[in-house]
Amino acid sequence: MIRIVPREEYCIGCRLCEIHCIVQHSKSKNIIKAFKRERRPVKRVEVEEHGHVSFALQCRHCEEAPCITACLSGAMQRDRASGAVVHDPERCVGCWTCILVCPYGAIRRDGEERRVVGKCDLCPDLEVPACVANCPNEALVLVEE
């Protein structure tokens, strides 16, 4: 199981992680198209900021994940192979129950044509998740358990 860990002393709040997250989850995976031409997907990482402190936070892939138990449709599931908490947008009905119970505020409303949520999927197609790979300060690190 891999997890992404924030290091607040290195985070400068530039929000590049958010931008690259959006690009990675866009249709074209092209920064200009993602922001200017296509439907912009919701960010799956969020920089929390207060005073001089900031850090980026995304789904913790909780061991006792409240979102899985609470999900009304069965769309939120544990991936047996990777241990990650995965969300199936096809089965999601956008009831927002997972948003109501996620202790990290890591789930957001997504989609325009239909109600659905989005959250960190650890970028299954990439060697290193986009937010980690694109942080200029190594304020996000990958930890392998």
Binding site: H50, R60, G94, G105
Partner: protein
């Protein structure tokens, strides 16, 4: 005679999560599910989405088609259990079949409450609690009809929304002064009502139905307290639900407005467990057992009942009331106490210009309730603070901010929540000493006493 290590009565949120938990600890023990309904496990709350055309029949299922096979579950579909003998470790089905079990789970859920309204029995009314009800509603609204819904709780409002999506003219009558009176506060209720009225859904509050005049089949006329009349082609009764306790009661298990369980979801008989809407279990906010008829709570109780049935003694962490709704583009989330009963509670609200509304309810330094309408993102952080009974004195001024989050907690607390609590991870290299587990725990005591 058939004999199982585990027998489960019911086939919904509580039952299926119990089966999952049992199988995660015991891959071998024989396991049977008895379900009065014929369907494979489906998500009950999705019936309104089905009627509205937002999910397909296929999308209703909570687990894949091969679930029972893959999990090694003997699925008795359409089999009602009519009596129980805990001492003899026996159950009897409607067909008269006797089945032996070692551990039993009662996950019998709820049934709709039917109020004694004059004339009701002569009308072919609908309830709105299961897939068959949804099918009936779909059939009866093939052509748009004028429909009346009695009750503006969650189920009544969901029924109204579904009927509206079918092109029906809808009126909702509610005895209390406002819609969703339990889940929402006054202002949020008004916001929802306004959206409904804009969509031409008639909302009549503070009035009950005195009598019904049948006009054959599904048709009739409701006469309200003030004498006004509402004719309808279709009537939906949704005034509340009651725990289904009759099996448990007849078997001599302790019940009091719900099956009573200990912290391991065990009933008054040591081999019989119970979970879900039929059960009164610990409510974290009220500090006493309560029925919280909610999918996430039923699922969580089922999970803990299952673990305990399979021999791993783990206490149910407790639940609390909570609601996630969206009506006509307005999402509202709430948890815990949203309508404080007296002045010992502190209420802080904030109304944004974009229609965004937030509210927190505190008792002393403890967050006991929240409601967020409009911009609902990250409200789960508040829910988790309510569930942890956390002391929020230091972050009180930030609770209603949209950007409220872990950044506002003392560093040691957020490090524990973000890095350690989740996984017990080793610290990433380069982390300063002193933020280790022991220290974080000690600081937590100061920052957010439990």
């Amino acid at each position: 005679m058939k004999s199982y290590r585990y027998a489960v009565i019911g086939n919904s949120a509580a039952a299926v999560n119990a089966c999952d938990a049992i199988r995660s600890l015991d891959g071998e023990g024989s396991l049977a599910v008895f379900s009065e309904e014929r369907y494979r496990c489906y998500s009950r709350p999705l019936i309104s989405y089905l009627v509205a055309g937002e999910v397909s029949a296929h999308g209703m299922y909570y687990r894949p088609a091969r679930y029972y096979q893959n999990m090694g579950i003997d699925f008795h579909a359409g089999v009602k259990v009519t009596s129980l003998d805990p001492a003899g470790h026996l159950l009897v089905t409607r067909e008269g079949e006797k089945v032996k079990w070692r551990k039993l789970l009662l996950a019998t859920g709820f049934r709709p409450f039917i109020p004694p309204i004059e004339g009701l029995e002569e009308v072919d009314y609908l309830t709105f609690v299961d897939w068959d009800d949804a099918k009936r509603m779909l059939r009866l609204t093939a052509k748009p009809v004028a429909s009346l819904v009695i009750g503006a709780g969650l189920i009544g409002m969901k029924a109204a929304e579904a009927l509206h999506a079918r092109g029906s003219a809808v009126t909702v009558v509610e005895k209390m002064e406002r819609v969703l009176p339990l889940a929402l506060d006054e202002r949020a209720s008004a916001m929802v009502s306004e959206r409904c009225r804009r969509e031409n859904i008639g909302i009549i509050t503070g009035q009950s139905v005195s009598r019904l005049e049948p006009r054959g089949g599904h048709r009739g006329k409701a006469v309200l307290e003030d004498g006004s009349e509402v004719p309808f082609d279709l009537l939906v009764v949704a005034v509340g639900v009651r725990p289904r306790v009759e099996l448990a009661e007849e078997a001599g298990l302790e019940c009091a407005g719900g099956v009573l369980v200990d912290k391991h979801q065990r009933t008054s008989h040591e081999d019989v467990f119970a979970a879900g809407d039929a059960v009164k279990a610990m409510d974290l906010v009220r500090g006493e057992p309560a029925v919280n008829a909610l999918w996430p709570i039923a699922a969580l109780q089922g999970k803990y009942a299952g673990m305990n049935m399979a021999g791993r003694e783990v206490p149910y962490p407790g639940g609390n009331s909570m609601n996630a709704v969206e009506f006509f583009g307005l999402p509202v989330l709430s948890a815990g106490v949203v309508n404080p009963p007296d002045a010992t509670y502190e209420v802080i609200t904030r109304q944004g210009d974009d229609g965004d509304y937030r509210k927190v309810v505190l008792r002393g330094d403890v967050l006991v309730g929240m409601l967020v309408a409009g911009n609902i993102e990250r409200a789960g952080i508040l829910t988790s603070l309510i569930q942890e009974r956390a002391n929020v004195r230091r972050v009180k001024g930030f609770l209603l901010e949209e950007g409220f989050g872990h950044i506002h907690f003392p560093r040691s607390v957020r490090e524990e929540r973000i890095i350690e609590a989740v996984a017990g991870l080793p610290k990433p290299a380069g982390e300063k000493a002193g933020a280790g587990k022991g220290k974080a725990r000690a600081d937590r005591g100061k920052g957010r006493a439990r």
